[in-house]
């Protein structure tokens, strides 16, 4: 946003003080117009963000039983969620998943971005498109496709003899789907950031005797750290909410992909298979709060490198 400041500073002498600035446009009218313009958005924000959040919090504090009906239960549902071994198992699973999948995918995206930044233009154009195409595919269909590819009877990977949806391999197979779907997206983001680095920096490094690899690791990578931070953040946020991929692959091996495979799958099943809306709301709210607080802490800890200041 530095650009904005310089631009408005350049035209500042032309604009007078705020009271004289708008002689034909009164402050009250401007305020009314402003509210009118944001009104549709503000209504949606209340109706589909604030209200559901407040409602989820409210019902998460109640307990519904056949004998008692709806009773206020304070934080019992949260206590139950924290003590629930199935919740813990799911949380542990998405944590392990995120710890392995995030660095692998961001690393792959960074490597690809550095390669196409250094490569000839025609090759990089073709490669950029190839890697980005999976992003255009809906997650459901991408997962269906990989479900077929993993299949022992009709998939092209059958010759490997690996059971891709076995209980000890399915998490890695899910990781592969996520990586396939999002690596290209992250690569484009990182590549766009690389394009923004002034080329003179590379020249001076070259004169000082730095090779291509050194330039890539010591200059290019630190220069785009803000984009790296954001890409990592969005990946972590996505990981914690892991839902669609396990749900789609579930029928392939219901024994391995359980009804509590991830916290989000668990919350969904609690609500729609067991009608445990109160407990489900507590899990959802807890998960939402963790993602929200986690991303704030992450942004705060890395704020020097972050673009969202």
């Amino acid at each position: 946003m530095t650009q904005v400041q310089t631009r408005s500073a350049a035209v500042a002498p032309a604009a007078a003080g705020p009271t004289q600035r708008r002689p034909f446009f009164g402050r009250a009218r401007e305020a009314a117009t402003g509210w009118l313009f944001v009104l549709p958005f503000a209504v949606l924000l209340v109706a589909f963000l604030l209200l559901p959040m407040a409602y989820a919090f409210k019902i998460s504090l109640y307990r519904s039983t056949l004998i008692e009906g709806e009773v206020f239960a304070w934080f019992d549902n949260y206590q139950q969620a924290i003590d629930d071994p199935l919740v813990r198992e799911g949380v542990l699973r998405v944590l392990i998943f995120g710890l392995i999948q995030t660095p692998v995918m961001i690393g792959l995206a960074l490597l690809a971005a550095l390669l196409i930044d250094a490569a000839t233009s025609r090759f990089s154009r073709v490669f950029r498109l190839a890697a980005f195409v999976p992003y255009a595919v809906p997650v459901v269909i991408g997962t269906l496709m990989w479900g077929f590819l993993y299949s022992k009877s009709i998939g092209p990977l059958a010759w490997t003899g690996i059971d891709f949806v076995g209980s000890d391999t399915v998490l890695a197979s899910l990781g592969n789907i996520v990586t396939w779907q999002w690596a290209g997206y992250n690569m484009i983001v990182l590549y766009a950031a690389l394009q923004g680095v002034p080329k003179e920096i590379y020249e001076s490094a070259k004169i000082d005797g730095a090779g291509q690899v050194q330039i890539a690791l010591r200059i290019k990578t630190p220069m785009i750290s803000s984009a790296l931070v954001l890409a990592t953040l969005f990946t972590i946020m996505g990981t914690l909410q892991f839902f669609t991929e396990p749900l789609i692959l579930q029928p392939l091996n219901p024994g391995a992909i359980t009804q509590h495979y991830t916290p989000n799958v668990y919350a969904y099943n609690q609500a729609f298979s067991f009608q445990q809306y109160n407990y489900s709301a507590a899990i959802s709210f807890l998960l939402g709060a963790v993602v929200f607080v986690g991303s704030y802490i992450f942004l705060f800890a890395t704020r020097k490198r972050s673009a969202l200041r």
């Binding site: 946003m1 949606l44 589909f48 498109l129 092209p156 997206y185 989000n264």
Partner: protein
């Protein structure tokens, strides 16, 4: 690396030309008979042509949500960037905080609220929540702030244009690239959406493609009778992604610009 990204598409393309028996023969990556036309016919006649209904629903949800979300975001983004009104800073700060709220945590309470308003299992249950796009508002605010000088708006006002006219005739044409970007991304988000329609809809005549194909896939795997076979599902998946890939290739400069607006200064 390019092989890794493209091989699944090659497999999908090849598989869509096989009949159901052919799929189970060896050589998954090469052709084996040509039944693509038959598969497409099967796809569009299965369960009285419900696939076409799903395709239409997906397109309808994507267009209405995309255009609506973009229009609402543009109005709000313009107001945040260029109009002074009490509560502006507070509301914008709230918006920045709420961008971080994970969408999936909202689906369940939104469902419960919708069911109290008797809107569950209607198109509104899918469209109304999709009209909210805080990130779009943020992008357009930044873009309008950067690209439209106040003097330009002032000049239009002095010429006697009303505030809405200034917005429509001066601001909107100047931010067209950003508008197309937000439109493209909200349409794709809606086309790809799965969790929201999965929860909100139970009438399969209202399903979008994502939810519809999943029900076919589920019953094919479980071996329930009457549902689509693998060759039909594979062809359905191919038909569902081709329009998106074509749109992305055609609108390359917009999505690339869009990713840059979002991630990098």
């Amino acid at each position: 690396m390019a092989v890794y990204f493209l091989l699944p598409f090659w497999w999908l393309l090849v598989a869509s030309t096989k009949n159901n028996e052919g799929l189970f023969d060896a050589g998954a990556l090469w052709f084996n008979g040509f039944h693509f036309i038959d598969n497409v016919k099967l796809l569009f006649t299965q369960e009285n042509g419900i696939y076409l209904t799903w395709l239409r629903n997906s397109a309808f949800y994507a267009v209405v949500s995309g255009v609506g979300a973009t229009a609402i975001s543009a109005l709000a983004g313009y107001a945040f960037a260029k109009l002074r009104f009490p509560g502006r800073n507070a509301l914008f700060a709230l918006l920045l905080g709420l961008i971080m709220v994970p969408a999936t945590a909202l689906v369940l309470p939104t469902y419960l609220l919708m069911s109290q308003a008797d809107l569950v299992d209607t198109i509104w249950a899918v469209i109304l929540p999709s009209l909210l796009n805080p990130f779009g508002v943020y992008l357009l605010r930044v873009y309008i702030h950067d690209s439209i000088p106040d003097e330009m708006l002032e000049a239009a006002r002095i010429d006697g244009a009303g505030e809405f006219r200034v917005f429509r005739s001066v601001a909107l044409p100047a931010i067209r690239p950003a508008l197309v970007t937000v439109l493209l991304f909200s349409m794709v988000a809606s086309w790809n959406n799965f969790f929201l329609p999965l929860v909100m809809l139970s009438d399969d005549g209202l399903y979008p493609l994502t939810v519809g194909l999943r029900t076919w896939y589920m019953s094919a795997i479980m071996g329930n009778g009457g549902a689509a076979t693998f060759n039909v599902i594979i062809t359905g998946a191919l038909v569902a992604i081709v329009p998106l890939i074509v749109a992305f290739l055609m609108l390359q400069r917009y999505w690339r610009g869009g990713l840059t607006i979002g991630a990098v200064k």
